[in-house]
């Protein structure tokens, strides 16, 4: 029988952290969105960030994004690594003047009181070759632990950003390990009814690691990549940026799977990344064109 956690004060479960961040950023004025319904490598790939960071229109949004990095799978055996994990993503355009304080306040909503900790902004510039994106910023450290990525986008899908968006990416598992003082991801309390992270995701980690590393059918994936690419291109010709971008996301995830299956040689790697970037670039510029036409 799972043990209930009895009304511990200042104890935040995994789902509390999600709820509280949603509430906090909802109050701030962000549109609270739901995760994008395709496999992505990070919250940045959600069109609400990638595409919405383009062009002049102001935009504020926050959402949880399940993210997949097939090569990070460890069959559930490593206490710090997962092939599927959660990010909480905030995107604000243009970046507000007091964003640092707004962010620090958000931490107190999830049990991290700035005055008791050593919160540090450590240089970390970000680049995504597949998205044709780059930004400057920091990783935010709390007592030596990285808990958030804080980035000012300078370029997205190959297009200079104007105005500049700020992106905050909270690593939810990391933060929960920190606030719950756990040494193993799988020991995180998901809710206060005794359900642990392990109960929700351990089997999935084991099975997907096996799929990612050993069993994904690579012929099938290679074909799928080609199909997604050609579909994306034909949708771009029809000026349908969002459906085209979906295909770009699919191609990107398939590439990650192929990579973790070890079938992409070094020489081919750059080629694949360039192909995905072209799809992202096409989607970005058409999305922007369609915005202006309205």
């Amino acid at each position: 029988m799972p043990k209930k956690i009895k009304n511990k004060k200042n104890f935040f479960t995994f789902q509390d952290v999600v709820f509280n961040l949603q509430k906090y950023w909802g109050k701030y004025g962000c549109v609270i969105l739901q995760p994008y319904d395709l496999e992505v490598g990070a919250g940045t790939f959600h069109p609400a960030t990638t595409l919405r960071s383009l062009g002049p229109k102001p935009w504020k949004a926050a959402y949880v994004q399940p993210s997949r990095r097939p090569t990070d799978g460890r069959y559930g055996k490593n206490p710090n690594r997962l092939q599927h994990y959660y990010q909480f993503q905030v995107i604000i355009k243009p970046s507000p003047k007091n964003i640092k304080q707004v962010y620090l306040k958000s931490l107190s909503s999830i049990g991290i009181i700035a005055k008791d900790h050593d919160i540090r902004f450590v240089e970390d510039d970000w680049e995504s070759p597949t998205l044709g994106a780059a930004g400057l910023g920091w990783e935010v450290w709390c007592d030596g632990m990285e808990i958030t990525q804080f980035t000012y986008f300078q370029k997205m899908t190959g297009i200079e950003c104007k105005p500049i968006s700020v992106e905050l990416t909270y690593g939810l598992e990391r933060i929960c390990m920190f606030v719950q003082q756990k040494k193993n991801i799988f020991d995180i309390d998901w809710n206060s009814e005794g359900v642990k992270y392990k109960d929700v995701y351990f089997q999935s980690e084991k099975e997907f690691s096996a799929y990612n590393f050993d069993h994904a059918n690579t012929d099938f994936l290679l074909k799928n990549f080609e199909m997604a690419e050609s579909e994306c291109k034909s949708l771009l010709e029809k000026k349908l940026s969002l459906p085209a971008y979906d295909q770009c996301l699919k191609a990107s995830h398939i590439f990650n799977l192929l990579d973790s299956r070890g079938v992409i040689s070094v020489a081919e790697r750059t080629g694949y990344i360039n192909r995905i970037r072209e799809l992202a670039k096409g989607s970005g510029s058409i999305w922007l064109d369609n915005q202006i036409e309205k």
């Binding site: 003047k97 632990m145 040494k183 070094v266």
Partner: protein, 684 residues
């Protein structure tokens, strides 16, 4: 005394950008002030992660510009020119003066003395200095146009207790500073520098980066003393950490003793490179399971200490997991995994590189007479650790990890050492590899980089050297010189090029060998120049050098430098000059050297014999050559040459005999020139 305080308040600026901005601001301000006739008494720049502060004292209220006379066009030029000149000075032609100078009569404009309000001038020149900072990396934010290291939030500017008004990009100066407390930001009025630093100090912020660094250092040293540890502090880490905090709080923390079984390098990388903590070693060089955190906050609830300890625990346990697994992966079997790691685009994979090194091991071990099998093994596994998870987690431990893996798997000590030592030397003052397997592999690895990048035409330019080829070349030459190695570089380059081409690399530069040798020669020149050797001696040695044996070049240059002003050198130079002067006057169409049958005088024969002795001495095996002896032989020809010139008249009536004598002098000079090119030496 007058004072000027400017504070640029921003979000956290990275350490290296702070350092750069401080330096540039200081220079730019000095320049701009002095071109406005302002000489400050003091000018200081301070920084914290969020503050870049300028403090200047001793500026006058008024800048007095004395009257001057400015020289204009020559008297007699067209009226237009004179008119334009007068206009440019806001004068009429009639206002111009005519004055006599050494070069004739000229018009002069008399410029009246003026007084400028310093405040107005500062409001003009400071934004210009700010604009001229060139950030190594800069960014935009929100909807502003300004590029800065990180978002600039406000500019405090106070001149003599009053707001100094100016605009910079979208910002207007203010008379308050910003204070961040927890998640709030407050504006606080500031009247003077005293006010300002007091306010900061009250909030435990140390503005002066040097003071912070000294404070941290003092605390660390006192901890070292207490714990009987070595009082050595990593200087670059100290600088970085000082720029990462503004209210340093030094905390000692611990990790589980069992992790001390990990290689030291892993612990050090985890703690220093990744987490910016200071490690402690005792007097016997053993690492302690204690470390020093420089936090940026008080730790009243001890949460900071335990939080950091948990992070270290997680990182070390991760490292431990990888270490235990990776060390058992057979290095030979790992070689195949290197096929997935690119060496450089168009230069194949790291696997290809190890194959080249292995093939080259065959050639170089012949040249250097070292154990071929060992060098081949070392070359083959030299990069295997790159395929391990540990090195992908800790890239700075490449080589070090390979060495530990190798030792763990029973590879011989010198082979194992070579895996880490072949990356040496790392910087200009770093040690070089000293053991045969290590230095041979190091030479091959560096030459492989050089040849590869030259082949695909990725050569360094005067401003850019992205693959650190200069460092590779200098490292290569130092390794050769300091180990006293006779190496036929030219041959090695040929072999490397052949192997690269065999592997299918496309040659984009057909001059690569020639250009690479030139590049090496230039680096050699630099090495010699740093030893303060006369440039003409360097030129003389390089000019006669066969581009193969750089050790010979080095040694000869040093010998020449040592003896150039002594009897030995002077005799050699004067003998050469005497002979070459005659050859310069007479045009000789040289054939095959002198013909002994045509010698008439004893002195001719004697000189010829001497030359032959020298030529023979020059052809002994490289490793037996004694360059001082060689110079002595050259120097000793003075006697025979003097006698020759005394007794023998070169200009004989018989043309054959005359030419034969010229041939003799010719061969004398060319013999000298095979040592160093004496014609390049300045007569002494």
């Amino acid at each position: 005394m007058s004072e000027l305080l400017i504070e640029l308040f921003s979000e956290e600026i990275p350490s290296n950008l702070q350092i750069n901005a401080r330096k540039q601001l200081e220079n730019l301000l000095k320049q701009n002030l002095s071109s406005s006739n302002l000489e400050p008494k003091t000018l200081e720049i301070f920084s914290t992660p969020t503050r870049l502060a300028i403090f200047i004292t001793g500026l006058p209220k008024i800048i007095k510009i004395p009257s001057t006379e400015v020289k204009g066009p020559k008297v007699g030029v067209s009226e237009d020119v004179i008119n334009n000149y007068a206009k440019s000075k806001n004068l009429n032609i009639s206002d111009l003066l005519e004055k006599k100078t050494e070069k004739g009569n000229f018009y002069f404009a008399k410029i009246k003395g003026r007084e400028i309000n310093t405040e107005n001038e500062l409001a003009k020149l400071i934004p210009l200095a700010l604009k001229d900072i060139s950030w190594k990396k800069s960014m935009k934010w929100s909807d502003f146009e300004l590029n800065w290291g990180r978002p600039l939030i406000s500019i405090l500017a106070i001149f003599n207790e009053k707001l100094l008004k100016f605009k910079f990009a979208h910002l207007e100066t203010v008379n308050f500073t910003m204070l961040e407390t927890e998640d709030q930001i407050k504006q606080i009025k500031v009247k003077s520098f005293y006010d300002y630093t007091n306010l900061l100090r009250k909030n435990e912020i140390i503005l002066d980066h040097n003071e912070r660094s000294e404070y941290i250092l003092k605390k660390i040293i006192s901890i070292c003393k207490k714990k009987s540890c070595k009082e050595t502090v990593n200087q670059s880490l100290l600088t970085e950490v000082s720029n990462l905090v503004d209210k340093p709080n030094i905390i000692t923390a611990t990790f589980d003793k069992s992790y001390l079984e990990l290689p030291k390098e892993i612990i050090r990388s985890t703690l220093q490179t990744h987490q910016r903590y200071f490690t402690l070693v005792d007097l016997k060089n053993r690492m302690l399971n204690e470390f020093i955190i420089v936090a940026n906050n008080k730790d009243e609830k001890k949460l900071i200490k335990t939080g950091n300890e948990r992070v270290v625990e997680a990182r070390l346990s991760d490292a431990n997991f990888f270490w235990n697994r990776d060390k058992s992966y057979n290095l030979i079997k790992q070689i195949n995994k290197l096929k997935k790691i690119v060496f450089y685009e168009n230069l194949g994979t790291v696997y290809d590189k190890t194959q080249r090194l292995r093939k080259m091991a065959y050639f170089i071990s012949d040249q250097l007479n070292i154990n071929k099998e060992k060098l081949e093994i070392a070359s083959s596994v030299s990069k295997s650790d790159l395929a391990s998870d540990l090195v992908s987690e800790f890239p700075e431990l490449q080589g070090e990890m390979g060495k530990y893996f190798a030792l763990n798997q029973g590879f011989e000590q010198d082979v194992s050492n070579a895996i880490s030592e072949h990356y040496l030397p790392i910087g200009n003052s770093s040690i070089i590899p000293k053991k045969p397997i290590s230095y041979s592999l190091s030479i091959l690895d560096k030459l492989d980089n050089l040849v590869g990048f030259y082949l695909i035409n990725e050569k360094p330019t005067s401003s850019k050297d992205p693959f650190a080829l200069r460092r590779s070349a200098i490292g290569l030459l130092r390794t050769i010189i300091e180990n006293n190695l006779v190496i036929k570089i030219s041959d090695l380059i040929d072999y490397f090029i052949r192997i690269y081409l065999d592997q299918g690399v496309k040659e984009k530069n057909t001059q690569s060998k020639k250009e690479l040798i030139n590049f090496l020669r230039e680096r050699m020149k630099n090495i010699l120049k740093e030893k303060r050797i006369r440039t003409d001696i360097i030129e003389a040695s390089i000019s006669s050098h066969n581009n193969d044996n750089f050790l010979e070049l080095y040694k000869k240059t040093l010998i020449m430098n040592k003896f150039i002003s002594k009897e030995l050198g002077k005799n050699a130079v004067s003998t050469y000059k005497r002979a070459s002067n005659i050859l310069e006057q007479e045009r000789l169409i040289s054939k095959d050297g002198p013909d002994a049958v045509l010698f008439k005088e004893e002195e001719e024969k004697e000189l010829f014999d001497r030359i032959n002795i020298i030529r023979k001495a020059f052809t002994v095996k490289e490793d037996r050559k004694n360059y001082e002896e060689h110079l002595k032989l050259l120097s000793d020809t003075k006697l025979s040459t003097d006698k020759f010139f005394e007794k023998v008249k070169v200009n004989d009536d018989n043309n054959d005999i005359k030419n034969n004598r010229l041939e003799l002098l010719q061969i004398l000079c060319s013999t000298f020139n095979t040592f160093v090119d004496f014609s390049k030496l300045e007569g002494s």
